[in-house]
């Protein structure tokens, strides 16, 4: 069990916690002051824990499977530890943000609009995904897109109120905007444009956009020009056959090739290390994910590797949770691949629900020391610098008007 000394390696620990959750008894929950009314269940609803080496993890603790986890959350002298067997490691619990308790002027709880994940506030202004209406939704998806706001589209003002509240708490280093599939050629960017513009106008924050690959590349240019600092077109599955099977909508209406082309093009437009795609670990053989990692890093796209945890409602309930042994080669390859292709790994970081390349270095038998740049980007000045550099780059690269 302790083959990998998981407790003392933050990345091993993160993955194990993501796979298996953590035990926490009622007394601990009470003593930690967790208010269970504010979404602690679901795909991204677990407990945000800050592990050593500044590694964020979102660990389930209310779900059934968490009760059999080998990890346990314990409190000693007002300090929090994760205990496994006789050993323990000190961690910090990130309390749910205060703004979760607030509502917009229109009466919508901000916790419904924005979700904090590490240093990100994630917002999905329109929670509908047309794949569901056509019965070609991604098979692992539990319909969280459809359930989030019962079809309600949040207005720009409501989203701004949410970002403002998060910002006041100092928790909106990056605003992560996402959108489900709609049958438009722009991949959703036309819908997101007013949100991006408004956020950029009012806050000095970085904006990441998760959309669908648009039919034409000029929409990618516009995504960058309008203010997105990072873009994600999530292919989810690299294997061609499994992509067809698991993501029928993406396959039929967008196509695997278009994902690749759009990402390739976006990598030429956006800064190094800011174009990313999710490859879900465990839904395809490890070799296939590794192929995907090698391919995407080769075209300067950052592979982000979430681990699939089955949720009620998803079609893949018979899915077997992979073991640490299964996923380890994948993460090891991730770090080497990004390093080999000189991809900047300072952008995609501090996300609790996925494993980032920066964390993958803990699998790669290198020292745990943070690089100077990494340390710098953690500081307040570093965050401001990242924003400033990103804005300057956009000013230099974007020429408005062009040809009529």
């Amino acid at each position: 069990m302790n083959k990998y000394k998981t407790l003392h390696n933050p990345a091993y620990l993160k993955i194990d916690l993501m796979l298996n959750g953590i035990k926490a008894d009622n007394e601990t929950i009470q003593r930690l002051g967790l208010d269970l009314r504010y979404g602690y269940t679901g795909v991204t609803g677990g407990l945000d824990i800050l592990l050593p080496h500044n590694t964020w993890v979102n660990a389930s603790f209310l779900e059934e499977f968490a009760k059999s986890s080998k990890y346990e959350l314990v409190l000693r002298d007002k300090k929090t530890f994760i205990k496994a067997g006789d050993e323990s490691v000190k961690v910090d619990i990130m309390p749910k943000p205060e703004f979760y308790k607030l509502s917009t002027a229109t009466g919508i709880p901000l916790s419904k609009i924005g979700a904090m994940h590490g240093g990100y506030v994630a917002i999905t202004p329109d929670t509908r995904c047309e794949f569901f209406n056509m019965n070609i939704e991604c098979r692992y998806c539990a319909g969280n897109f459809n359930s989030g706001g019962s079809g309600r589209v949040y207005t720009v003002e409501e989203v701004l109120e949410t970002v403002d509240a998060a910002n006041k708490e100092g928790k909106a280093e990056i605003v992560y905007l996402s959108i489900g599939f709609s049958e438009t050629p722009d991949g959703g960017i036309e819908f997101l444009k007013p949100y991006i513009k408004a956020i950029k106008k009012h806050f000095n924050t970085l904006v990441a956009v998760e959309a669908l690959p648009p039919k034409e590349n000029h929409f990618i240019d516009e995504t960058y020009a309008v203010g997105a600092d990072s873009v994600l077109y999530n292919m989810e599955i690299f294997d061609e056959r499994l992509f067809k099977e698991i993501c029928p909508g993406r396959d039929r209406l967008i196509g695997r090739e278009r994902y690749i082309d759009a990402l390739k093009y976006a990598a030429k437009v956006f800064p190094n290390g800011t174009v990313a795609t999710h490859l879900i670990v465990g839904l395809e053989p490890a070799e296939s994910t590794i192929k995907g990692i090698d391919f995407f890093t080769g075209i300067r796209v950052v592979p982000i590797l979430p681990i699939y945890r089955p949720s009620v409602g998803a079609n893949l309930l018979n899915y077997k949770v992979p073991s640490l042994d299964d996923v380890l080669p994948v993460y090891r390859d991730l770090y080497h691949a990004v390093k080999k292709n000189k991809i900047n790994i300072n952008w995609v970081r501090d996300i609790s629900v996925i494993t980032t390349p920066i964390e993958a270095r803990f699998f790669a038998k290198t020292k745990f020391n943070k690089t100077l740049m990494e340390r710098f980007y953690k500081t307040k000045l570093g965050v401001k610098t990242a924003w400033g550099l990103s804005t300057l780059r956009r000013k230099l690269r974007v020429r408005e008007g062009g040809e009529g």
């Binding site: 000029h218 020009a225 690269r397 974007v398 408005e400 008007g401 062009g402």
Partner: protein, 475 residues
């Protein structure tokens, strides 16, 4: 939203973006150097500062880094700031008669365009005379020239372009290949260029030159006087142009019968001639008559502005139309150029340059005219006609003073060749339009243009030598 992402390496973008600020820094250093070096003998401090400003404006006008009008505004601001003229005098120069004449002429030209009169005249005459390939070329060429006697040559080029394009398409001519199409578009460009130097109306550069002369020396040149001096050059250049168009670019089209239908459709589209067209036509005729024969007594600017008032009295145009048809920015250019010219003269800078720099090569008045006209015709190929005048005329007037030449001669020597830019698309809008059609390539234009340019220079100097003494211009 229409955006282009510059995907070059960031250092290349940074370098290309920093070239512009760097350019201004260099210009500022040149200015600072010129004002801080010890004042040369025979030149006052004001003269030295004016020369520094003149060099800055020259660099900016030639490079085109700033719009011409903005460089002129810089000149207006700097003249009083450098203590060359006081504020009141500097800004008063902007209210010069020439500026108001240009303003009035632009508005009248806009009214002619807006009324549709010019377009109708063009279509009707072409349909009547353009029955053979040669005659069609002749009608486009001479018509563009004659219209440019009476209204802005650029307006004529813009108005003719769609018509000539339809002719080329109607004849099924191949862009870039058909020789006849090349002559059609060159006829349009050359007609406008040559016709544009005939009177004060073709291009605002002539009134600009006349205004600069008046502010610097108090000498005036009348509408008729100028036309009399320029006309032989125009007339003979038109003949040379026609010869080149028909002999050097022999028609590869025999039958242009199909074009008749194009003209008929155009005439049908225009409908009956309306009240506004008649009235604008009559008003233009009366205005030109007054400019020619009563310009000296009433004042050409007064006539122009009075005609503009009449336009509005009879509701022939609305202000909104005029706003859209006049390039207001360029009027600022003229005001600034006149102010700078006056400052050059009054500070003694022009005379100093003439004495020290030019006296080396200036042996006789004819050599001066030959060299100045050559310099003008070469410069105007690469930059705006008006900017050439703004740069060369102040120095030219200085030269006239040194060699006891009539400054009017120098004004003609610069104002007439300044309009004759035949070689490149960037030389003048008429050329740019011709090349943009795709029927004439830049290479075609340069080849034929060089011949026209040489002819123009030789012809101009022959006119100076033989014809000018006949009309009382003594060299």
């Amino acid at each position: 939203m229409n955006v282009v992402i510059d995907k070059r390496p960031i250092w290349v973008i940074l370098l290309s973006r920093s070239l512009r600020p760097l350019f201004f820094v260099v210009v500022a250093i040149i200015f600072w150097y010129l004002v801080s070096i010890p004042t040369p003998d025979g030149l006052g401090l004001e003269g030295q500062r004016t020369i520094a400003l003149f060099v800055v404006c020259l660099i900016l006008w030639v490079s085109g880094v700033l719009p011409l009008a903005i460089t002129s505004l810089l000149a207006i601001v700097m003249v009083p700031l450098l203590g060359v003229l006081d504020k009141k005098a500097a800004y008063a120069l902007f209210g010069n008669e020439a500026v108001f004449f240009i303003l009035g002429a632009f508005i009248l030209s806009g009214a002619v365009m807006h009324s549709g009169l010019a377009g109708r005249t063009a279509v009707v005459i072409m349909s009547r005379f353009g029955e053979t390939p040669k005659r069609l070329i002749a009608s486009i060429f001479f018509l563009a020239a004659v219209l440019s006697f009476f209204m802005s040559e650029h307006a004529v080029a813009a108005m003719f372009f769609p018509i000539v394009l339809e002719i080329a398409k109607g004849l099924n001519l191949k862009p870039g290949k058909s020789v006849y199409a090349k002559s059609l578009f060159l006829a349009l460009a050359w007609g406008c260029i040559i016709g544009g130097v005939a009177t004060f109306l073709g291009g605002a550069r002539v009134p600009l030159a006349v205004g600069m002369l008046k502010e610097a020396t108090g000498i005036n040149i009348g509408f008729f006087e100028y036309t009399a001096a320029a006309f032989p050059t125009v007339l003979i250049m038109l003949l040379i142009g026609y010869f080149m168009l028909t002999k050097f670019l022999p028609s590869d089209v025999e039958d242009i019968h199909k074009i008749k239908a194009v003209f008929e459709r155009k005439i049908k589209e225009l409908g009956k001639i309306g009240y506004a067209e008649y009235a604008v036509g009559v008003l233009m005729a009366v205005t030109i008559f007054l400019w020619l024969f009563l310009g000296r007594t009433i004042g050409i600017a007064n006539i122009a502005i009075a005609s503009v008032v009449v336009l509005f009295v009879f509701k022939l145009v609305r202000w909104k139309d005029i706003e859209e048809y006049v390039n207001w920015g360029i009027i600022l250019m003229y005001g600034g150029a006149i102010t700078l010219g006056a400052a050059m003269e009054k500070s003694g800078a022009a005379a100093w340059i003439a004495n020290t720099v030019i006296s080396e090569w200036a042996r006789s008045p004819l050599i001066i005219i030959a060299i100045l006209s050559l310099l003008t015709i070469l410069l105007t190929e690469g930059m705006s006609n008006a900017a050439v005048i703004a740069i060369l005329l102040p120095v030219g007037i200085g030269i006239a003073g040194k060699f006891n030449l009539d400054p009017r001669i120098i004004t003609y020597t610069i104002a007439i060749p300044a309009g004759l830019a035949f070689c490149f698309p960037m030389s003048t809008p008429a050329n740019a339009i011709a090349v943009s059609s795709g029927y004439v390539t830049a290479r075609d234009m340069a080849k034929a243009g060089v011949l026209m340019m040489i002819s123009a220079w030789v012809l101009f100097n022959i006119t100076v030598f033989i014809y000018w003494p006949l009309i009382g211009i003594k060299i």
